[in-house]
Amino acid sequence: MTDARYPQVRIVPERFLNPDTTERLLNLIVAVKGVRRVLLNGPRLPATVPYGPARGAMNPHTMRRTIRVGGEDVDLQVHVGYVLLELESSDVIPGIRAACDEAFTEFGYSVKEGRFMKTEATLADYAKYGPDADKSMIGMADPRSRSGPVIIQGCK
């Protein structure tokens, strides 16, 4: 669960982001001090066709690959449309804007402040993590998937 005292922002680019742009943006963001959590949102890119006549067939997609962020491998599972951030304080926002200005050269973007991350554990979270779940992990990964969040160290 998210503590209300931490501000959150949502970066909304005008285009869906390529893995290269995502990698460049995230590396600029993790270099900004005061970023607690990062969440990538967008339409999912499954490894196999999930439904239809070709169900189960392999689904090669150039937008789904592993990127390197802050020295860690991150497997992209979505075509990135939004980047949600939880910050230590509002003072970090100018640094985030500067990172966006550097990363987005071909198209525009906007940064919105608000509450964007999950605040309460859902039934699926409860089934996956149990009653004593680490609250900072809720909403960080799809509870139905086997993947977990990537922890990037060394920036604080």
Binding site: R15, F16, P43, A54, T62, M63, H79
Partner: protein, 254 residues
């Protein structure tokens, strides 16, 4: 009766395009050249060159009941041969795609015989006899009704109509049936419409630029295009129909 179809109201370029595309008297501009084989490969209903599977014997070989309507209506080539019913389905980006689902259904009904168009919010399917379908699909894909980046041929997993575009200007496609070859500035289909890999790439032409798209689009869009509210004639007409239908149902009286 000296009645001349008007097809639709509106004074904007969007309304004008809608009228043009629906009017069977207007010759659609050909902008790419996909072959019969390319169309067959993308649709994936049969192997190129294979015989058309049939759903029933040819009409000439079966006993037709004495029926005045059957004498009146000339069957299409596909119906004559007893072809199966097959489909092609399109998704069109709201970012200035030349066509959109409702328009596709209207224009197909005006222009083609023996079709069953189905309109959904973000996709449009048209079903008909297989050999008729190939003929119609070729026109739908090779003319100004289609843009290789903003329109997609998608039998399943069609999501993309209302999403932002990718960085290269392509509409989102979870199955990435087509990719943009940046060097050649050419869109190539690598999977058929249901997402099965193709043995060879099918070239779908170059993506059209923004100027062309805005001149040919049939979608109102307040961000960068013609806003619906700016076309007063369209608004007046729709409000009039709405008012008459509300007051009088299917027997409007002014």
């Amino acid at each position: 009766m000296a009645y001349k179809a008007q097809y639709g109201p509106g004074s904007s370029i969007v309304a004008e395009n809608r009228r043009k595309y629906m009017n069977p008297g207007y010759k659609l501009e050909k902008i790419r050249d996909m072959s019969d084989e390319d169309i067959v490969l993308i649709m994936g209903h049969r192997a190129p060159g294979a015989a058309y599977p049939t759903a029933h014997p040819p009409l000439a070989e079966q006993q037709e009941p004495a029926c005045s309507i059957r004498k009146l209506v000339v069957p299409t080539d596909g119906a004559k041969a007893g072809d199966r019913i097959r489909y092609i389905q399109f998704a069109d980006s709201m970012f200035f795609a030349p066509s959109q689902p409702y328009l596709r259904s209207y224009l197909e009904s005006y222009r083609y015989r023996g079709v069953d168009p189905g309109t959904l919010s973000g996709r449009q399917i048209v079903e008909c006899r297989e050999r008729d379908l190939e003929k119609y699909a070729k026109e739908l894909v090779n003319t100004e009704l289609f843009d290789s980046a903003r329109c997609g041929i998608r039998g399943a997993t069609v999501h993309g109509h209302s999403l932002r575009l990718a960085e290269d200007g392509m509409m989102f496609d979870m199955l990435q049936r087509c990719i943009l070859d940046k060097k050649a500035n050419m869109v190539k289909y690598v999977k058929n419409q249901i997402g099965e890999p193709l043995d060879k790439e099918v070239k779908a032409g170059k993506p059209m630029d923004d100027k062309w798209l805005k001149a040919h689009t049939t979608i109102f869009h307040s961000l960068g295009g013609v806003a619906y509210r700016d076309d007063q004639e369209y608004i007046d007409y729709v409000q009039r129909i709405h008012s008459l239908r509300t007051k009088y149902g299917f027997m409007p009286v002014e």
